[in-house]
Amino acid sequence: MSDVWIQLVLLADSTLRLATPLVFCALAGMFTERAGVVDIGLEGKMLGSAFAAAAVASVTGSAWAGLAAAIVFSCMLAMVHGFACITHRGDQVVSGVALNIMVAGLGPTLADAWFHQAGRINVTGPSARFTPIELPLTETIGQVPILGTLYVELLSGHNILVYLAALALPLSAWVLYRTRFGLRIRAVGENPSAVDTAGISVEALRYRALLVTGALCGFAGAYLSIAQNAGFQRDMSAGKGYLALAALIFGKWRPVPAVLGCLLFAFADAAQARLQGVAVPGIGQIPTQLIQAIPYLLTILLLAGFVGRAIAPRAIGQPYVKER
């Protein structure tokens, strides 16, 4: 009994770990997309900031410096996207894809040139990474049956970024629904003309939304390279940016449902890791590749079938041009 319980708690535990970058990324995308700009470049920003975090952390030995670099670099990428799509009214999907491709090539190339580790950056040393934090009183509470396990295994022992991700949800929701900035963001994604005639600059507003997105993607990237893993490697984001985008759409561009979507994908990922090598009665061992495909298949199924009609922000994808 308690063995099954522990297995379940461990499954939940790894779900949280896997969900963290998705949550940051989906919330990041929410700001840009609610402001009316398609952001398919979440993947690129995450990968780029993973690179920046690893590079700076390995040189300075400071995880916090790595995180700061990740945020700065991700914001720079977001500004490039803004320059193409907001200032020059370029196609938002093309710009996003271009950034993804650029980062995918640039990361390993620069890593190879600067660190000579075959396109990787290894981050070692105690303070260069975000390490697990023991919550207080784990000894004492750990004695309590069932709930103790929950506290020690599930709640305690994560790195700071996991807790920040948990905090990012209520904070993002509050900003989006309860503040002036959030009101304007939601308005500009629905009817930019209304924002313009209210005396607010549509362009400045969308740039600011992109900066928020850049910052949150920075957290996601830093988590990948200097918290979850010990360094940067080629394509380490592995489509998580797209998964986060799918979760965002699955959640109809709302914070709580989007995060639930992230948790679902993370759970599928956690479960597939545990299913590998397990023999299913009657079928035998399922090929690893098939199991690894589960989260992605789930994405397709959910997006195709269960979402219903996802109503996007009305002005999404359209560059703002004053009517004539």
Binding site: R178, T179, R180, F181, G182, L183, R184, R186, A187, E190, N191, S193, A194, V195, D196, T197, A198, G199, I200, S201, R314, K322, E323, R324
Partner: protein, 517 residues
């Protein structure tokens, strides 16, 4: 040339609310405003009238800071000011209600009013105070609105009140309304006029832009007339007439009433039985209607936009599959647009740029759309007969006064009126038995309206059946032999041309049926 702006004396000692001197604005090749001067006395309702494309909206958008003038000076309350953005004009006490409402549909009324004037970083700070201010404004100006209702659930008349509230909340002393009655029933329009008079009594200034003479006469103190980007005359409303204003607008005498002989209806051509149609979201928009259109008559369908007319028209043309019911043209059921065309149905769609034309095609290509399989246009091997097509197009352009007469020109290079005449030529010249026509004069100038109306009457007199769907009540009244009024997917009444008037139709348009009235 520009009229004399000095003719309207400022009321009392207050400086004019708005004064324009020599405003000039070009959009590429289009000279939208030419050296426009204007004085709007404080505390009055000032009408600005002109045809579509005369430059009225451009001028007002310049005052509001949405566009920037190339040259000229703007004075507000006697002080010259620079307006770089709407923010500057809001600060100067100018508010604007745009023709297309600038509202965020999923937002509540309160959120829309707060947008841009939130009064704090968090919404809570401003919201409570705003609520009080708004309730006071609602009381003072009879602008009843539920602050917590979502915009998308409100009728357009109420949405318009939200726009007015928005402007007043920002402290507007001068309110500009751009074509405010286009979407309203006559009763709603009268309510709006009461609000405007109320604003005037409280010392505020109103600028009303419209192309409807009735409204100018009903509510304004002074009126300025624009034509082709120029300000051509200023008048005191009480000292002018509809006829004079119409002549000033167009630059020549116009017939406001279409002259026509009584109809001689023949055999039924279009027969509709218990038709039900749903829209793209699966909502039933036409809820079981039956009617007949006979040869040699024009049947008009009146109603406020969005009461199912569009879906009805699409279903009749075979574009939209009805959920239930029967549509026949001369006894043959309508199945799809091509088949319907073969059986004598012609269709001038409501939205010519979306359904009537292909924007990127040239005029002669557009002239044969839908008829492109005719032997006149294509030979046995399937190649287009360009010589024939271009000649035909040229002939029609001459006959329908399409300007410029250039078959090689892209559809988008023609003005709205000329695009419409091209579509009409295509649909009328293929000798249909039934012509379905939606909003035939939307965005069309008065000169072309007169022409289009005469053509429609000529169709009728040639023994064709014509079904006219229009939200312009004047148009319905002057063209139709019988009028059906549509409200919420039903017909609320049928009137003959003789018994119909604006008031009766207005009530039916608002859903008040004969029994209830």
């Amino acid at each position: 040339m520009a009229g004399d702006p000095g003719r309207i004396e400022p009321a009392g000692a207050r400086p004019p609310a708005i004064e324009l001197r020599g405003i000039d604005k070009r959009f590429g090749a289009v000279h939208a405003n030419r050296n426009v001067s204007l004085i709007v006395p404080a505390g009055t309702i000032h009408g600005i009238i002109g045809e579509n494309g005369a430059g009225k909206s451009t001028l007002m958008n310049i005052i509001y800071g949405y566009y920037h003038a190339d040259a000229g000076t703007i004075l507000v309350d006697g002080q010259p000011i620079t307006i770089r953005s709407p923010q500057d004009s809001i600060r100067a006490g100018i508010g604007m209600v745009h023709q297309h409402f600038m509202l965020v549909e999923p937002f509540t009324v309160l959120e829309n009013v707060l947008l841009g004037a939130e009064g704090g970083v968090t919404l809570e700070e401003g919201a409570a105070k705003a609520r009080e201010t708004l309730q006071a404004l609602e009381r003072d100006y009879a602008l009843e609105v539920d602050l917590d209702a979502r915009i998308e659930n409100l009728p357009v008349g109420v949405q318009q009140r939200v726009e007015i509230l928005k402007a007043l909340f920002r402290g507007a002393r001068t309110l500009i309304l751009d074509e405010p009655t286009g979407v309203l029933t006559p009763q709603e329009a009268d309510h709006l006029f009461r609000i405007l008079r109320n604003l005037k009594e409280q010392g505020r200034t109103v600028v009303l832009i419209t192309h409807k003479l009735r409204e100018i006469m009903a509510v304004t103190d002074n009126v300025s007339v624009m034509r082709q980007g120029e300000m051509v005359a200023h008048r005191v409303t009480a000292q002018t007439s509809r006829e004079e204003l119409a002549e000033l607008m167009v630059g020549r005498k116009v017939l406001l009433r279409v002259e026509k002989a009584p109809a001689r209806p023949g055999a039924p051509v279009l027969e509709v039985e218990d038709l039900r149609v749903t829209d793209d979201l699966g909502v039933e928009r036409v809820k079981g209607v039956s009617f007949t259109v006979r040869a040699g008559e024009i049947v008009g369908i009146a109603g406020v936009a969005g009461n199912g007319q569009s879906q009805l028209l699409e279903a009749l043309a075979g574009i939209r599959r009805p959920r239930a019911g029967r549509v026949t043209v001369k006894g043959v059921p309508v199945i799809d647009p091509a088949q319907a065309r073969r059986h004598g149905l012609a269709h001038v769609p409501e939205d010519r740029l979306r359904m009537g034309l292909v924007r990127g095609f040239v005029a002669y290509e557009n002239a044969i759309l839908g008829y492109h399989v005719d032997k006149d246009y294509v030979d046995e091997r399937g190649f287009l007969r360009f010589g024939n097509i271009v000649d035909t197009c040229k002939r029609w352009m001459a006959g329908y006064d399409v300007r410029p007469q250039a078959p090689q020109l892209q559809a988008t290079s023609f003005s709205g009126g000329n695009q419409q005449k091209l579509v009409l030529a295509r649909e009328m010249e293929h000798d249909p038995d039934l012509l379905l026509v939606g909003q035939p004069t939307r965005g069309v100038d008065i000169g072309a309206i007169e022409f289009i109306h005469r053509r429609l009457i000529a169709m009728r007199d040639a023994g064709k059946a014509v079904l006219l769907v229009s939200v312009e009540l004047d148009e319905i009244l002057s063209l139709s032999d019988r009028i059906l009024v549509m409200f919420d997917g039903h017909f609320t009444g049928e009137l003959s041309a003789a018994e119909a008037d604006e008031r009766k139709i207005g009530l039916l348009m608002a859903g008040v049926t004969a029994e209830a009235a």
